[in-house]
Amino acid sequence: MVKRIHYDSLVRNLVHSLMACLWVAASAAAAEVEAQLDRDSVAAGNGALLTLKVSGSRAARPEMPEIENFIIEPRGQSQQMNIVNGRTSVSVTYQYAVGSNTPGDYRIPPIEVEVDGKKFSTQALKLKVLDSAAAKPPAGMPSGPAPPSPDADEGGKRFGFLTVEPQASDRKYVYVGEIAPVRIRAWFPVDARAQLSSGIQPEGKAFTLHNVSDRPEQTHEMRDGKRYLVVTWYGGISATKAGKYPASLSVNATVAVRDSSAPKPRRARSGPFSDPFFDSILDDMNAPMIQKDVTLKSDDQEIEVRPLPAEGRPEGFNGAVGEFKFDRTDISSEWKTGEPRQIGARISGSGNFALMNAPELSPADDWKIYPGKSDFTPGDNASFSGSKRFQFSAVPRKGGEQEVALKFSYFDPNRGAYVEITSPEKKIRIAGEDMAEEEPAAAPDDGPPVRRPEELVGQHLEISAPGLLVPLVLRTEFRNMLGVAGGLCALGGILAWLRLRWSDPQRRARAAIEKATQQAMDAAKRQAEAGDVSGFFNAARRAIQERLGGLWQQPAQAITLAEVTARIPGDSPVARFFREADLHEYGRQADVASLARWQSLLDETMASLQAQDQPR
């Protein structure tokens, strides 16, 4: 038996098979699970953002793995739906805050998600949790857990609080001028909105704050089971006078927090969200915000400030407190008397660099020294450690060979004693003859201009004329002036209109016609009163001609009975009066008795013409 293969059927089967393969491939391609971290490392106590994107039409909620000492906290989800050529694809993005309070290398194992009945896995992720000390606080800054927090629920702390963490030290006192590096942290509830309205300020006048970082760090941190937004500054605090003083810092802020004490809205406690857990969340979300201007003040810590001892104070001591050493010196080998040359030095260490002056040349006899410039390179966020480079000019006065060095003295607070350090001696040769005592040429100063302290400028010595503080716009005079201006504009408009109207030729022609008509009417009236029939008709016809001339825009004299009857119906008062006037003129019948009737006809004629003239 021979089986016949139909070509059409074969093609149809092939197409169907191909479509089925494509559908399977497309389905497989559409389902996708992807996880990524926004950073590779994070400080202990801080969090990184884990984003998990699940693409597919029917995806189950991902199951997050449990890792020891590692926190994975859901941060919400978003869904995206695309319809392309009638095909729908859905992707859901889940976000998690991940991190740990314990430093170490953490591995997040593949996260499994079931999409369209199949299980998909992400790649494994790695997160390095660094010790908080790795954030490089100044040397000696505490790097362990934060000091115990004040009770966050305490009335005054609900808007946040301030902590100051000083340098770890065994000493219970500081010296005047010594700068102690501190880490200052403002803690705000994580759902609060905070706006700082001042910089960090020391309370009281015994301490000053130095080198507070311009750009504070912002982190989210857990503390006592609560999550906070933490703003961190680094700076140095120093005492200005000896004695025992409470030291604390403060910062002003406007903080808005949710008022969880506000009455809860009545809500139906049924349905899928009837769980007390959701009630609490929804209540918190619906709680009104309350805002307050607050001053966050750190706890007072009494600090003993000791004066710098007078005993053993070196002659060249200029207030440097800390621990310093010469890094390098730059002294030329060849000199010439009377000619200035630059001497350079770099001192590094930790302490109050702000009060540090340039080292001295030793021996200083027979030299003229000019002030120079210096620049500081901080080694930490609080500018407590670092190095300071000095450059100044010196002019030798005596020739010959010398061995010179640079000397610098400071007070070491840990030793409680003054220390004098000297750079390695350098042999130099000074050419030229010894100089007399005259002033040498000024040293070239390539340094920046000396910054003058900010001061008030100007004081008026002559009293100026008193003025009105309230600007004109807020006084009644302003409205009056604008009213006058408006009136003047209106007056100008009226005057312009009147002037144009006065000079209008049509208006003038009409006025002339009106005047001539009126004069003719007056004459007709007078003639009628005098019984002069002929005179009456002449004047009356002239009046009608004047009026018609104005209406028809043609000379009054050119208007005759023929013209009138051609343009006006024959029974109209105008035509009738013209006929009467012509009859009288040609007939010469002085019928005085009819004057009243003609007068009446004239009035009717003029009234009809007046009516025609109105629309104009």
């Binding site: 309205s197 805002q291 009293i463 716009v473 007056l491």
Partner: protein
């Protein structure tokens, strides 16, 4: 004789007052130079009270207050002096210094150059530009209406002048509109300037602003002003010990 006295007496009185004020001003300057800022401030205040506010007296008074560390009254005095001499560089420098010392910074506008242009003349100067321009236009309209100009160059000249005046009036009107909020400006005076829920001293505190902060005074009830603190949502009542309007008779 009577008429003569009637005319001369007010002049004499004015001259005497001026001389007295000038001498008081000089004494204030002497106290300032001697470092007695409190006494100098009192004398400057007397000059202002007696003769009316002058830019020099307000400026010097502000300097005294700043020297005394009273940044609120200092900023208020400078702001008032700025109404009279808006382009005085010394005044701007000292005001900036006072603001810096008080840790008060005004939020810059969205268009700093436009703001700088409209703030170059004072509110008073813009008012005069608008009023003067409008009066000029009115006068021109009357002249044009009454006389009419037949010469072409004259017509073109008048028209150009009118367009310039109209543009100035329009520009001034825009400036006055944009700066309309300035009449509500006030300055917090004391370090503990407190915003309260209600207009009385014992009312609950909503927050404090610190000295020298610019606030908007929205209404007044007795000795309390209802203020809004720009840049925050803080609104409430402040005692007139804690806040003063920059324009004394406002709002």
């Amino acid at each position: 004789m009577k008429r003569f006295l009637t005319m001369i007496l007010p002049c004499l009185l004015f001259a005497t007052a001026l001389a007295a004020g000038s001498s008081r001003f000089d004494r204030a300057n002497e106290r300032f130079a001697a470092g007695d800022f409190a006494q100098a401030a009192e004398l400057y205040q007397e000059v202002i009270d007696a003769e009316g506010p002058s830019a020099a007296a307000l400026f010097n008074f502000g300097n005294c207050e700043q020297r005394l560390g009273k940044y609120g009254p200092a900023i208020l005095a400078y702001e008032r002096a700025r109404l009279l001499t808006p382009r005085d560089p010394d005044l701007r420098a000292n005001l900036a210094l006072a603001r810096k010392s008080a840790a008060v910074f005004e939020e810059p506008g969205r268009f700093p150059r436009v703001d700088a242009f409209f703030e170059f003349p004072s509110l008073n100067e813009w008012s005069w530009i608008v009023a003067g321009g409008a009066l000029f236009l009115g006068g021109l309209a009357v002249l044009r209406g009454a006389v009419g100009f037949s010469k072409r160059w004259l017509v073109a000249g008048v028209r150009s002048t009118a367009i310039v005046a109209a543009l100035l009036v329009a520009l001034g009107a825009v400036a006055l509109y944009l700066r309309r909020g300035e009449k509500e400006r006030g300055v917090t005076l004391s370090d503990n300037a407190t915003v309260r829920l209600s207009p009385f001293e014992a009312a609950e505190s909503l927050g404090t602003t610190g000295p020298g902060r610019i606030v908007r005074i929205l209404k007044t009830d007795g000795a309390f002003h209802y203020v809004a603190v720009p840049g925050t949502t803080l609104q409430g009542w402040m005692s007139d010990k804690d806040v003063a309007a920059i324009l004394p008779s406002m709002p």
